[in-house]
Structure formats: structure tokens, C-alpha cells
């Protein structure tokens, strides 16, 4: 298998360097992974201190190696150390740690409130596009997804940015997207996102971190990682998706935390969200990421014990989807079709939906009569 792999590699060789590809285009606010300017300044101070300690330690060691050379770090860095584009990318409503090798986010962080998830912004005219801040050499493109059989799955959902059209627009950058099973995207994952938004009615602040995972599985008795890549950019298809949810009262009090790992496949209504819950420590182990590093371990309650982690059931979800379709419909015929399909699925519309249906129908009939 590895021989075949090597052959694939050799076939794919491209001659000549594309010289323009290593310059860094302009983009969103770029900060080191510590995030804030304060963190950076602190990092500078800490770095100087650590450096001083290191050099002192190192001088002591060198003096014990009689006559040996001192390390020449500036010479090592004469042409720059390797740059894997590891800085944090800040957008209007979310932050991204991007993985240049996989052409997907490593993680996407958001902070939402009841105010942010309501407002006039909408998906109309929103288009997925390559992130202009990422070098084309390391970016995903719409062409990679189209015809691949995988949908473009938002990590920071568009609907979490109802307060700002700009913030919503930036969630359509492919730096916020992973190849996601279509049914998972519109089904279980969608219900998980709805649950996160519902938390805003019971908590003042909700922090969410989402991202892709490629987990090992046993194949022929050996632990293997096996995942697809799509398109010319070899965009990595995750085997799983993760979401860490931290919810708190005003000022970061009464914190509740839940971490979830969901397979990137159709899931349906039988499994509960708690079936996919993992400890934060286990998720950190699997992702190689420390989440909420400034949060004292053990300072939170279990989100699912406190808040239930109940996803919308089949009936309510079907009514919710019908309601959204209803709002966008412009013909009486299509309006009746939406309600008819509900009945065919055995879903009895609740009163709120029936009222909206009647109002919309009268509105359309009046418009038609004019």
C-alpha cells in the first residue's frame, strides 16, 4: 500500500516553483495564538524571561562541555524557520485556527448571546468563497467541494450571526468550513447548533468551539486513521466533528461546560446528544488542543446535568423546518405542498405553525388578487 502511495506521489509531482505563492496576502487581523494584544505583550515579557533563563541554563551547560561551540540560533534562522501559518485569524464574529495542510479549520471559536442570534442579517446572497486572507497554495476552494458528495459544513453557523451581515458573510469563508455529510449537516449537527442557540435564553454568555477530527479505528487488528481528501486541494474529510460549549451567567459566573464528538455521518433521531458527550480532557487528548486555557479546571458544572442537553425531537424539528420554508415561499401551491409533506411524514402541525400558514396563505392570496 505504501508503495502505491509513493507512486501516487511521484505521479503528482509538479515541476517548477510557483514563486508568488509564499508571499503573505493581506487579510483579517492576525495575532499570535495567545490572541489578545495584552497576551502578546505578556508573551513578549515571558518570552524574554524564558529566554534569559534558557541562555543562563545553556551557558552553564556549555561551560561543562569544555571548548564546545555555543548554539548559533540566529544562524539557524538566517532564512526563517518553517512557517505553517499557525497564527489565529480573527473575523467579525468568530476566530479561526487554520490547518494549512488540511485546508480546513483546526478550530473555530465563537461567543454568542441572545442579542447576537437575533437580528435582520440573512443568508440571502451569501456565497461560500475561498478566504482571501489564506494563500491560494494552502486554501480550499468551492471547486474542491462541488461534486465531491460532501456538503460545506459551517463550524461557526451563519445563524449565530443574525446581528451582523458582515459577521455572517465571513462565516461563508471556506476557512470556517469542513466537508460534512449532508444529512449530518442538516440533521443532527443542525439540531446541536439549535440547542446551542437555545442556551442563550437560559444563559447570558455562550462560548462555542467547533472543529474537525480524524480518529483512529481498528482495521485488521491495527489502529489506523483513514479519511478521504477531496478536490484538487486535497481538502481533508473529517471522520468526526467536535463541539465544546461553555455557558455562563453574566460576568462568567455559574459556568456549565459540555464537550461532544459526533461522527461525520447520518445520525437520525434515536441517539441522544449525551451519547456523544466526552470529558474535556479526553477531547483535548484527541485534538491536541487545550480549550479555554484561562479557565480553572473543575470550575464548571456539567452542562448536560444542569441543562439537559435535549435536542429538538422529530416533530418539533419538522415543524421548525416547515416554518422556515413557509416564510420563504411565494406561491400558494408551494405553501400547501409544505403542509402536505408534513402530513405525509405523520407530523401534526402545532398551533403556531397553523396560524403562520393561514396568515401567509391570506397574504399570498391577497397579493395574487391584486
Amino acid at each position: 500500500m505504501f508503495n502505491r502511495c509513493a507512486n501516487v506521489w511521484r505521479r503528482r509531482r509538479v515541476s517548477g516553483d510557483r514563486s508568488s505563492l509564499t508571499s503573505h496576502p493581506k487579510g483579517p487581523r492576525v495575532v499570535p495564538s495567545s490572541g489578545s494584544a495584552f497576551g502578546w505583550a505578556t508573551g513578549l515579557a515571558v518570552g524574554c524571561l524564558a529566554s534569559a533563563i534558557y541562555w543562563r541554563r545553556h551557558d552553564e551547560q556549555s561551560s561543562s562541555d569544555n571548548g564546545e561551540h555555543k548554539t548559533d540560533i540566529p544562524l539557524l534562522e538566517q532564512f526563517g524557520l518553517p512557517d505553517a501559518g499557525l497564527h489565529t485569524r480573527q473575523y467579525a464574529g468568530h476566530a479561526v485556527g487554520f490547518n494549512q495542510a488540511r485546508r480546513t479549520p483546526r478550530w473555530v471559536a465563537e461567543h454568542i448571546t441572545s442579542t447576537k442570534i437575533t437580528g435582520p442579517a440573512n443568508r440571502k446572497n451569501m456565497k461560500f468563497k475561498a478566504d482571501p486572507s489564506i494563500q491560494p497554495h494552502f486554501s480550499a476552494f468551492n471547486e474542491d467541494y462541488l461534486g465531491s458528495g460532501w456538503s460545506r459544513g459551517h463550524m461557526a453557523p451563519a445563524a449565530n450571526c443574525k446581528y451582523s451581515q458582515d459577521a455572517m458573510r465571513e462565516t461563508f469563508f471556506l476557512s470556517n468550513i469542513v466537508p460534512q455529510n449532508n444529512e449530518n449537516n442538516s440533521g443532527f449537527w443542525n439540531r446541536l447548533e439549535l440547542y446551542c442557540r437555545s442556551l442563550c435564553s437560559r444563559f447570558d454568555d455562550v462560548w462555542i468551539i467547533s472543529g474537525p477530527l480524524n480518529l483512529p479505528q481498528k482495521i485488521d487488528g491495527k489502529d489506523c486513521v483513514h479519511h478521504y481528501v477531496i478536490g484538487k486541494s486535497d481538502v481533508a474529510v473529517p471522520t468526526h466533528l467536535f463541539k465544546v460549549v461553555l455557558a455562563g451567567r453574566s460576568g462568567g459566573r455559574s459556568l456549565c461546560l459540555g464537550a461532544f464528538v459526533v461522527p461525520n455521518e447520518p445520525i437520525g433521531y434515536t441517539p441522544k446528544l449525551t451519547d456523544f458527550q466526552v470529558s474535556l480532557s479526553e477531547l483535548e487528548y484527541k485534538t491536541g488542543i487545550s480549550f479555554f486555557p484561562k479557565l480553572r479546571r473543575g470550575s464548571w458544572q456539567d452542562l448536560c446535568s444542569v441543562d439537559g442537553c435535549q435536542l429538538m425531537n422529530f416533530h418539533d424539528m419538522e415543524c421548525y423546518i416547515a416554518e422556515r420554508k413557509l416564510a420563504a415561499t411565494r406561491s400558494v401551491h408551494e405553501l400547501d405542498n409544505i403542509m402536505q409533506r408534513l402530513v405525509e411524514k405523520g407530523v401534526e402541525p402545532h398551533n403556531g405553525l397553523l396560524t403562520k400558514y393561514k396568515t401567509k396563505k391570506e397574504e399570498l392570496l391577497q397579493r395574487f388578487q391584486k
Copy 2:
């Protein structure tokens, strides 16, 4: 397959957080990826400037969204952004970009000279060990490798640090190690390392960057990445290894560059090093890494055109290995065995080796007679 994968995940769930695991232990000098203190300070200045530009741009955008909220980045970062341990780790003789999810280096950078590769340091008493600067949660351990069928392959080779026992000792940290096919490690890769050292006799400075790769291959008509993980830490086994070699005359003049991607499998003597040569751009595309970012593209000659990229042939390599074994041998019987095995392999020892054999034999016989 994904269902099985999900089941594996559920079975592996560990309850409870290991609270101590997110604190950062002391370790080597820690710097942001720009590397030097100068780079950091520059980064701070650039960051402030970029930040100012971003906020200006952002204010302009916000004013067009009448009455919309301004982004609250400090609130997003209240408990810290995700930390994937992406900083560069500096050691006495090399620098490492570590991959906490894979428990291997992402890349290892070295600068070698004819002086650095000669000296009294030796592998005696050198032991592989977990890197004390990496949190146990994200580290590889010797136990992961033992019994796995994969050898511990140095990225910065121990033999490149003959000038300093300390520098050599640090190459045995598992942060510098990947699971490598044993025959590849002692064979083709070893010959590539020997070639890199040989460059020091023809160039004043040699910069080398090495690391693991997991490349896609066609399986059932689809592009897949398939690789093993070993041990309790799920250390990722690379399908390939890469090495970028930059060689120059004094002061960074007359630069020559070669980039190579070698399958992590037995290779033997038939393939040439040039069979595995790739353009720097293609390697950057596959790794997601920009190499030598301060080096102007196109400012180098092709290493293999200038220097040949000839690896040691079978005869010379066998003599080289015999010579090393000979130096370490303490019995006449073993000494004769080494030479006998050469003859059995059809290798006629060159004069230099024969002289060393005779000298060593006399020395051992004299010691025995005493």
C-alpha cells in the same frame, strides 16, 4: 467504516478530567513561530499596525450595518482561545515545530557545518526519552514505540551534533522522533543523512529541515489518507518523510536547494535520491508549510544539478558500516566476524578498512596477551 470508527471512539471514552494536564510545564526556550526575539518584537509592532488597520476597516464596515453590534473580541477571549501548542521549541542544536495531535514533530530545523559534525560527542549512554517540555497529555513515550514494529527515527540526526554532547542528548527527545520503518531508518534515510553531512566539505553552511508526511493515495478510486497510529498515545506513523536541504558558501552566498519526499518503507540501493526529489513549492503544498520564508524564491540553484545528490553505493556503505562496527568491537572473534560477513555479502573491503582491521586486531591481541 465510520460507524465502526464512532464505536471505537465511544468505547475509548475516559470519564473525568485530568485537571493537572493543562498547566504548562517548564521547558526549553519558547518563542512564537517567527523564531527570534527580534522577530517577536517585529511581530508585536506589525500586529499592532495590522490590528489598527483591521479595526479601522472594521469600524467602516460596522457603520454601514446601521445599529449593528461591534465585535466583542475581548469577550470571545475571556477564557482564552484554543491552544494547540504551536510555538517553536528551541534546543541546543535544533528547533522543533511540534504536532500535539500526532505526538510527533511537524518539522525539525538544523544548521550544520564541518565543525559541528566533528567532535568528541557520542551516542554512548544516550537514551530516547519523552520531551520534558511537552505536557504528558500531548507527548509520545518510549512505551508507544516499543513492540510497535516501528523504529524511533531521528529527524535531526544525533551524528549532526558531534560538537556537543548536550545538543546530541536533546536529539533523543521524542519531540525529534517519528515512527520510521527500520530498514528505511538504517538504510536509505541514513544514506541521505550521510549525504547531507558530506555537503559540509563542499559548502560552508547547510540548513536542513526534516519531518513526517501523510500523503493521500487512491483506494477504490477515491483519494484517501491511510496511516497507522501506535501505542497508548496514538503516535501517528507517517507514510512519507521529507527533507529540505539548503547549502551555501560563507555568508549565505551561492545557495543550492533540494527537497525530497521519501516513502517510509524499505527502499534499497536501486532508486536514486533524485527519484524522490520534488520542487519546494510542491512540498510546501503537501506539508502546508512555507520553508525558508525569508529566502527570496528563485535565488537558489538546484542542489542535485550542482552537487549530484549521489548517495553512498552498496559497497561503500557496507564498508562504512563495517568500519563503525569495527571501532566499537572488543573481541578478535567479533572483529573477524565483521570482515567475514562483508565477504559473504560480496563486498571487497577497501584498503582503508583493511588497515583499520589490521591495526584493531593487533591492538586487541596485544591487550589479550597482557
